[in-house]
Symmetry: C3
Subunit: 104 residues, 3 copies
């Protein structure tokens, strides 16, 4: 199958705001997202006891694949503007290759 260039947006933030972030991601035009529980340490300190890392995640990681660079940039910008003054979080973009652009 042919491969097509696409973007992945990654958002790592507090589990507390999972629903609000998911809503904003969809409003920006994403057709789907993957969520994983995560712990770690950032500029606002440790977010989970390291020893119990798989047991009590306080962070959540969103991954969104989109064939549109505009949608990817918009999600990343909007999430940072909306949430990262009041909640800890980071966001970054990656280049990926997808098989079936109509699915994204």
């Amino acid at each position: 199958m042919d491969h097509h260039k696409a973007k992945k947006v990654v958002i790592i933030t507090e589990k507390l705001i999972t629903d609000e972030v998911a809503k904003l991601v969809e409003e920006c035009g994403a057709t789907g997202y993957t969520i994983t529980g995560a712990g770690g340490k950032g500029s606002r300190g440790v977010r989970a006891a390291r020893g119990g890392v798989t047991d009590a995640f306080l962070n959540v990681k969103f991954e969104i694949i989109t064939a549109s660079a505009d949608i990817a940039n918009n999600i990343s910008d909007k999430v940072a503007e909306t949430f990262f003054e009041n909640y800890s979080g980071i966001t970054y973009l990656e280049d990926v290759e997808i098989l079936r652009p109509q699915k994204f």
Copy 2:
């Protein structure tokens, strides 16, 4: 150490078919894979209650690193052909750099 170009294949699909996907990944020539539990929303609807995102994952994320672009493409194509008519799922590829190509 020197770095070498390699490919990462990502597969996100239903937890139900974890064993079948792992078998196919190995048959395609991968020497290993990483599995993470995941939730999310795709073209077939929400796959886990958002509020309970870390408690009851219904999806699984495979990540496979291989120094061979042919193996990477083959895994991605074969998984999509074999499973994605009947099960929800996405697959995509990324470029990565590895330290020790003999390990992959």
Copy 3:
């Protein structure tokens, strides 16, 4: 917002040495890291029963974003040198784009 090039370091290794890896990552100059529980199979064999993949992760995945390619290379090299003779593990690097370089 403007985007800036940065590096992601990924380390997948045994859960047992989570604290030691976190310490080394910080000593190399990272300002933060994300941790996820993981299972899988590598050159030293299966690390979690596939059927119970989300229940009992024996591996841990670190992801570190840094605006400095030197810090990224150093983390990857040091972790491999320090731990991968005695513990199973892989490490690789990816290119990412970040919004706010001052946060990383």
